[in-house]
């Protein structure tokens, strides 16, 4: 009976969160502009009630009363819910409210600072964000490093020391590759990437391939436009992605397939976790492994474009005029150091993330003062990518994360990249998966992902999932090998092994 009552309570919390999610999706894609003020109040109410219901003494009583259920599904639900409950109740309401107000102020200050290219106006807010992050870490508790407590919210069980070790390894083994690639010059003519491609045709093609290649179907999914692409879902039968259309058309296509990776993960979560806290991805890193796999490992592969160039030619003949699959493959894999993370290619992307991780650590530890951050940012930019931002808007102010208090979030992007290759390598040990991937037929791969990754929802930790699915802990090795193999080939470099 207690378990039924606990499930009922978790269902209510899940439904409130779904409603808040739908209100946010609606705000980004459908809502009339004047509605924004009241919508903010409505979302705050739903999130507040969800938190109140979840952290209530009644939930604590139920978690006590259910003990250790014999049923494996129930046991997993109780285990993960207890963990969430402990974490949620460690933060006093006064602290949560103070942090919410500070975030709101910091967010507006950041937008203002970015628009006026003035780091100084944002600096006091960032100091406050770092102070709140330290206090948050203290409240949540940690053994080795306060960063561990923050990281754990996005990547359960991961520790700063482990990230540092993996990142150092990755940096040391891919920086020489980046130097060689950039020295090699162009691998093809990149003009195709900005040929005229009508907006509606971009969306239609991206959505059609999301269905045909990756299984995202209108029976349980939809596509909309928004200023910033995202994925959201309100059940496994209702997953939604958004996209953005630009003159640089790969942004729409690969962005859509990136979100499709997130969407298919949520779609693959087993029905047994429905309306519980476990009906979600294991972590941000594991989530990103799916989006990056679809976007980069699959959609930026030779077999993919051999298969889908004809479909592209149907909807966008002006783009594909005189184009062969090899040229297109090389074009969409252009490596070019740039200032902006979200526009970075596979080889340079992780340096953007490492830079942020290193600076976050230094800020949190106090070794770096906020006032000195822009200079530290620019120095690292020069060290890794050989570029100096012309202003802070294109440098330290480019990302929204720190203004939103998301300290400890950035590493998950690179952890996702690493895991994406490690998972695909493991999946390809299955001959059917391997031969499918070579023909850009992803049905067997999707089935493998559902079986080894998606279905578990949050019932496994990222480390457990990685071990079970790939047979070993997370490592930079597969990713380093992948980058070398792919880009030495594209840029005609002699294989050097892995430096």
């Amino acid at each position: 009976m207690s378990m039924d009552e606990l499930r009922r309570r978790l269902g209510q919390v899940s439904d409130l969160n779904a409603a808040a999610g739908l209100m946010s999706w609606d705000q980004e894609t459908q809502m009339p502009p004047q509605a924004a003020r009241v919508r903010g109040l409505q979302i705050a109410t739903l999130e507040g009630l969800a938190h109140e219901l979840f952290t209530s003494p009644h939930t604590a009583d139920l978690l006590g009363a259910v003990g250790l259920p014999g049923d494996a599904t129930d046991a997993a639900i109780v285990r993960v819910t207890r963990r969430d409950f402990d974490r949620a109740t460690r933060l006093p309401t006064a602290f949560v409210e103070e942090a919410a107000r500070a975030r709101n102020e910091a967010h507006h200050a950041w937008m203002d600072a970015r628009d006026h290219n003035s780091f100084a106006t944002f600096a006091p807010h960032l100091e406050r964000m770092m102070d709140l992050a330290r206090r948050r870490a203290d409240l949540l508790g940690y053994e080795d490093h306060p960063y561990d407590a923050l990281l754990d919210e996005y990547e359960p069980g991961m520790q700063a020391a482990q990230v540092r070790e993996v990142f150092t390894d990755l940096r040391d083994r891919t920086l020489p590759l980046l130097r060689r690639v950039t020295a090699a010059g162009d691998a093809t003519d990149y003009g195709v990437l900005t040929r005229p491609f009508p907006a509606q045709a971009q969306k239609t093609f991206a959505w059609r391939i999301a269905g045909e290649a990756f299984g995202l179907r209108p029976e349980f999914a939809r596509q909309d436009e928004s200023a910033h692409p995202f994925q959201t879902n309100f059940s496994r039968d209702d997953v939604r992605i958004t996209t953005r259309v630009e003159g640089y058309w790969p942004a729409c296509l690969f962005g859509t397939w990136h979100e499709t990776g997130h969407a298919m993960y949520e779609r693959g979560v087993a029905p047994r976790w429905e309306r519980t806290p476990l009906a979600a991805g294991a972590s941000l890193g594991v989530h990103e492994s799916q989006s990056r796999m679809f976007e980069n490992l699959l959609a930026r592969s030779r077999p993919f474009w051999r298969r889908y160039l004809p479909a592209l030619a149907e909807v966008a003949p002006e783009v594909t005029a005189g184009l062969d699959a090899e040229t297109l493959y090389r074009a969409v894999n252009r490596v070019q150091p740039s200032l902006i993370r979200v526009e970075a290619d596979e080889v340079t992307y992780n340096f953007h993330v490492m830079l942020r991780f290193e600076l976050e650590l230094a800020l949190l530890e106090g070794g770096l003062r906020v006032a000195d951050l822009p200079e530290a940012w620019n120095a690292k930019m020069r060290e890794y990518l050989g570029l100096t931002p012309p202003d802070d808007a294109q440098g330290v102010l480019q990302d929204i994360h720190w203004s939103a208090g998301l300290i400890g979030y950035f590493p998950t992007y690179t952890l996702g990249n690493l895991l994406s290759v490690q998972l695909l390598e493991a999946a390809r040990r299955d001959p059917e998966v391997a031969s499918g991937v070579e023909r850009a037929e992803y049905g067997p791969l999707l089935a493998w992902l559902v079986e080894h990754v998606h279905q578990y929802g949050r019932s496994l930790t990222p480390a457990e999932l990685t071990e079970r699915a790939t047979g070993r802990p997370l490592s930079a090795d597969p990713y380093v090998a992948y980058l070398h193999g792919k880009y030495e080939d594209i840029y005609g470099l002699k294989a050097e092994g892995q430096e």
Copy 2:
């Protein structure tokens, strides 16, 4: 302090209802089809939590603690909230749940019965609906007639005896007019009503005029398609209408402007009622007075088509080829007795409603048995409209209301018709309003409606609102005069005064 706390509580309830409303809107217009099952659970949770919060002992305490606030706005909020609270707490949870289950079963039985034209399968469910209606009336309480308690939920303060009196008057004075009109033959060539009109052009034109003529603007409103047109809103800054496109294009146009009337009412509710139970129309009848005014009194008028025929010609030249405003005016005001209420013209519409009101009363009183209902329906159909339904699907089974337990709802349609003319007559006493209406410029009329109707939300009862806005109680007189004037003119009949 108590008043602040009461407002906070009412705000939460309002936000939960808004979330449930958005989830329903999304379900009808956007949602992937597979999501329906979980969406049903989510909406039930939100509605349940809203009811739980509203009827909690804490709300009772707050309503006790605030006493009689000196501030007029606060006083109105407390008065209406107390009334809602009393009503909501008179129905035991067990009864509410039993009724919800019975409605759900009745709804499916009704759909099945309609599809198979089998009243017998629906009959036991309708008996149960009538039994629940009687018990509901007993729980809610009434002085004269159980119907009063039911009607009061849709039309606060209205009583069955008053409806019967007004309806009898209306029937006796408009049935002769209907006989004369139908004897007169066609008033014009009606072929224009089914000329080819592309779906997108129908929607675009209807929406454009909703903005230009009636003030419904994309800054705070939107239009979508759904199987059944409706209006919904989540704040006065977020009002949404839906429409449906048919080969018979007036359905889309006048349907859109009908919903626009509802939408502009919600838009006009004063900001002081925001996120309280008063931020809504005074009653279903008053709401319908606005939708029917826009749809019929304005959009089915000569000045309207004199003004907007050129705009129609721009988007649908095939429809308007060789057409003048007078022919179009006569065509869209065709009077033709028909079997289906929602397709009825202004002259026959109210007979559909009177028929249902008389049958509901007889069923509730026990004078009519459910088994004899189809025969009673058909007899009244012959008496009023001279038609015999070929089957029950086009007769007694045509409306969703009884299967949804909505007993006492139908009269509000005709009350709305009556009030629409009474209000417009009062508004036209203002010369600026009158001259605007003659030129199909509705700005002054809209301002009058906001001032005398919309702004009050639920702070006035329908009777108070009618008295204040028009100077007298609701009466059939203005509507009877309107019908005679309009249709004697269109059908070239000699004026007989009002029989």
